[in-house]
Symmetry: C2
Subunit: 316 residues, 2 copies
């Protein structure tokens, strides 16, 4: 018996864009949109809304900015019930860049923040709600959040924020099932009027398992990416999530085709997935940035030295 409330958000292009400065061509993104639409995926997150005042457009791919005109190039002419989502980071978005919902192809705006920045996120999310969008707040680096601060943050979101969904984001890929269960139950107990979501990273091959765990404990929004593509170790693979979910509206086959035709060749050019330095970062609950730097160096396979360098940094 499936749970109709479960919504799958594909963030392949958005999270994958962190590997290549958001530089996917329109043809490729159209192929992804076609496939996730045919697969019955509920949302597709296509990139970030960043201010061009802060980031020169010439230095990045177009999905760092997600101009509505570029989104139209992707979606126009493709039959679809899949809604478009964009992500914003606090302090990096120009709210005026986001048109009222009625004038935009975007349906959902998700604001990403650390627990400490929740006031800024609430301020942003409420503005996007006022413009008519579905909104979400994605709480990043949740494995590093202190429990008392997370409690306060969740109460604030429940009381002050108009966002429909609050996501638990395991940026470090550090969570095991027991902590995932703890965090989802905690969020559900405070966020009485909202849905809870999960965005997992796959450093320890637990992105799918933790997403299932979150679903078991009544998270209804799950993020996934095609073939797990995403920064560093990547994310919960969409094909596995669709294979798991029982809602007959989902169809895994268009995603299988997409992987065969587009993602097997792409994986030769972009690196993501189960790679030991990312696993080490997950085990040690560290941000992947040091592991990403290692993978770009000549010492990319020196795992023990990398491990020692991280555990050696302990100070009283």
């Amino acid at each position: 018996m499936f749970r109709d409330k479960i919504k799958v958000l594909d963030c392949t292009i958005r999270d994958g864009g962190l590997i290549n400065d958001h530089d996917f061509d329109v043809r490729f993104v159209r192929e992804v949109y076609k496939a996730v639409s045919a697969a019955g995926v509920d949302y597709m997150e296509i990139g970030y809304k960043n201010s061009k005042k802060l980031f020169p457009a010439k230095d990045f791919g177009i999905w760092k900015f997600c101009d509505d005109a570029d989104i139209h190039k992707v979606i126009d002419g493709i039959p679809s019930k899949t809604k478009i989502s964009v992500m914003v980071d606090v302090d990096r978005v120009d709210v005026d860049d986001v048109l009222p919902k009625k004038d935009s192809p975007v349906s959902m705006v998700r604001t990403a923040c650390y627990v400490k920045d929740v006031d800024k996120a609430i301020h942003l999310a409420n503005q996007f709600s006022a413009k008519g969008y579905e909104t979400a707040v994605n709480l990043m680096a949740i494995s590093r959040a202190l429990d008392n601060e997370l409690t306060e943050c969740l109460h604030q979101l429940e009381e002050e924020c108009r966002a429909n969904v609050i996501y638990i984001v395991d940026s470090n890929g550090a969570l095991y099932q027991e902590t995932t269960e703890f965090l989802i139950k905690k969020a559900k107990s405070i966020l009485k009027s909202k849905e809870v979501g999960i965005h997992a990273h796959n450093n320890q091959q637990l992105a799918f398992g933790n997403s299932i765990e979150a679903i078991i404990h009544n998270a209804n929004y799950v993020d996934a990416t095609v073939y797990g593509m995403g920064r560093a170790a990547g994310n919960c693979p969409l094909e596995l999530m669709l294979g798991f979910l029982k809602n007959p509206k989902y169809d895994i086959r268009p995603i299988l085709d997409l992987i065969s035709k587009e993602f097997i060749p792409l994986r030769e050019k972009l690196e993501w997935g189960y790679i030991i330095p990312y696993a080490i970062a997950g085990i040690l609950d560290e941000h992947p940035r040091a592991a990403i730097a290692l993978r770009e160096s000549s010492e990319k396979e020196n795992y023990r030295e990398f491990y020692e360098s991280l555990v050696g940094e302990v100070e009283e």
Copy 2:
């Protein structure tokens, strides 16, 4: 607080041998033994005891037979507390090939069987127990076992079998956490006098997650392999399991070195891991043999056709 009763069995060479007809050279196996010994791993399973009357020795690597003389070539001169395990299949072992424990470097003999063959497995395991070995029975293809037959099988094992450990084996890589929980709880409720173990396959990237799930529900024996090497999608990665377990006797670093030096180059020659046809087989709860055949064909990336071929076989 760690649970002292948890024992980790490395089956890299045994399960990995299913990819290359058990043809690892002694130098390589010594490197694995050195590393798992230094890492504090409790057992290392080195291969199968198959009858040379059934399988001509010239057609296979030496780890299909595990002669004691070959085991000595691996372990002699290496300081270690890691015990050696061998696996036997029902109907494929000559019991007389297994010397009394006091004359052998082997500590544990594990008998693999399907639920339907449990009588044969009990008969074998009891003989190995009588020879002085620690013994286990590994119940394969558990996702296909009918509940009433599994119940009877577990009662028989509890009452008639001298094996110390009974393993739940997810041969198809089809289990999710909820069924893993169900099976481990069921086994624990019947096998009052024995330990319960888990051997997971990684088709759906759930081998580690399901092994954690089994540990949560009091399985104390867990199988893992270096870098997840094993047939098809492979197994629970040993490095992740050691990163998870809290017992200070375990040290992940020798395994990190071993992966850098031996397994990254090996992966260029042998294929295992997250590969879509194995994921499909797991999702559909099928044995990986059709997916293995596909990967050896020119149609290795034709995922949709492979999926259709499996779901098209449904008959009333």
